[in-house]
């Protein structure tokens, strides 16, 4: 994933779009990914959070699919893997919620606020909320990616187009 711009031999026209789009995508892809992670992780401080972060992550993958065709994106995130992240994100959310019920006052109780206090306006604050944001981002990124893939390619590997 180098950022250098040395001239290369023009690859044979495979699936996907033109060389310019491919090169720009190759440069932008890590930036989009990092931006998505940033939005997710600072969701408790600034506007953002799990859902926008997840959407940005999914958009990064979708951009790769548009530019290069399905194969390259699926090498990084195969549909089976995506549906595992999809369910896994939701289960992680429920698990953290259940931990709240065990350690604290109720389901989704912010139990880390007591055990792991932080200062307001710092990354380490808000207890379980950043963890929940990560779970949501996983779920949203995977399911949005799956929805778009199912709708555009419509292969038989997944019957429904996104249950939620």
């Amino acid at each position: 994933m180098g950022m250098e711009l040395k001239p290369r031999a023009i690859p044979p026209r495979g699936p996907g779009m033109s060389l310019i789009v491919k090169e720009v995508t190759r440069l932008l892809e890590p930036a989009i990914f990092i931006f998505g992670v940033y939005i997710t992780l600072t969701g408790h401080l600034t506007p953002g959070g799990g859902f926008p972060g997840g959407v940005i992550l999914a958009c990064g993958f979708i951009l790769v699919v548009l530019a290069y065709g399905g194969a390259r994106a699926f090498r990084r995130l195969p549909p089976e893997g995506a549906s595992k992240y999809d369910s896994g994100g939701a289960l992680l959310f429920l698990f953290i919620g259940a931990l709240g019920a065990i350690f604290g006052g109720g389901f989704l109780y912010n139990f880390l606020r007591v055990y792991l206090p932080g200062e307001p306006f710092h990354l380490k604050s808000a207890g379980t909320i950043p963890l929940l944001n990560i779970a949501i981002a996983m779920k949203v990124a995977a399911s949005l990616f799956l929805v778009v893939m199912v709708l555009t390619l419509f292969k038989p590997w997944s019957a429904e187009g996104g249950e939620r």
Binding site: E80, S83, D86, A90, G104, G105, G106, L108, Y109, E163
Partner: protein, 505 residues
Amino acid sequence: MSLVFLLVALPLGGGFFLPLLDKFWEESRAKELLAWAITLTTTVLAFLSLGWRGIYQMSGWPPPIGINLVVDGLSAAMLIVVNAIALLVVIYSSKYMEDWTPTGKFYGLFFLMLAGMNGVILTGDMFNLFVFLEIASIASYALVGFRRGGEELEAAFKYLVLGSIGSSFVIFGVGLLYAATGNLNMARISLVLAERGGGGGALIGITSAFFLVGFGLKAALVPFHAWLPDAHSSAPAPISAMLSGVLIKVLGVYCLMRVFFNVIGIGEVQANLLIWGGAISMVLGALLAVGQEDFKRLLAYSSISQVGYIVMALGIGGSLLLRGEEAIAGLALLGGFFHLINHAANKALLFLNSGAIEEATGTRDLSKMGGLFHRMPLTGMTTLFGVLSIAGIPPFAGFWSKLIIIVAALWGGFYPEAAILIAVSVLTLAYYMRVEREAFFGPVPDRLKSVREAPAMMNLATVVLALGAIGLGALYLPGLRELVLQPVSQVLLEGLRYARMVLGG
């Protein structure tokens, strides 16, 4: 009480976990066992909730700020209906869904729907109600199209569009309510509106119109009923049983009850709309059912008609409540809820049997059946029980609930309504007797000679429901009445008690 969140969290977890198992255990029974375990736990919790009264604070925030789950008489009784039928449906589907490959996906969607319904029943927050309503609805849209045939997809699309319109109306109503009161907590809203003095003015009138259209679409009241016959007859049989048995009641009737009796407070206009919406649904549903040849479509039209009974009883109760005749109003509301329980059990039973018959004979067309009583005695017997109960023949449960509604209508002076109630009962008996005559009695046609009884697992569920068709009548006996039905009518009668219970004081 501190376990009440499991009623939502367990099915939700199951809904996401079970599809994952599809990849590891293609042919394993583990998915079914897990599904049984989850529904059994939620059913036990639902029965335990009869003894619980109070609120559960999500994330530990107190009521007006945080979202809380509320258990009172109405939600406890509703939870039992939903989860008990879900348990029986899961038992039934372990056999029925066997030859459909992605069972994990099926159970996943099923549990999302169950989680949504339990959430709708428990939540004490208007917007949260909408979110759970949508979870249940979206899962049910996908389940209607689960077979992916042409007709199923078409029915699912129709259901999806009309369901989305209904949801948009509901959330517009929620937005109006927030604009009018500055709150989303149901208890807080009802207190704010009560302090302003009844009625609430034009804004509340518009809001209740939005809610009436939205929840009316979900409950398939007559001007908005077009999706129901297609959706309920196209879904797989266990899902039809869930949709007709509980989904329309939770998303439609329960929300109408909660919003109009506990949150906004019922007014004269709303009560009359409920009465006449119910009456038109009853009559039109029954008339359309008479001509149906397709067994499942007939059952679906019958659902429209029977939901009309419940809604009309609600309207009569609300109207009497406004006149201050609390005793008779209580009787009407109690009768309405009693009929809701009976209809849930009976219609689930009939839809499950329609699935067994479709599996055995390969058709849903009544004119192609005949003499099934000889070939499938147990299915025939349970169907007969369900039919007699839903048509209101004396020893069966459906008779008592209809009787209570009619008596309340007569005492309250609603004579034309009582006449409609009786006439539709007769009509119901007529079209169900046609089912019995065409499908179950008479000689066995040649092509059905080889038909065999449904598997034991499927019959277990239907036999339990058939016993319910007789036994549920006992709910009105003194002793049991105080346990289930009386608390429900109390919650509906004293609209502000809900708010006081939630907010304390």
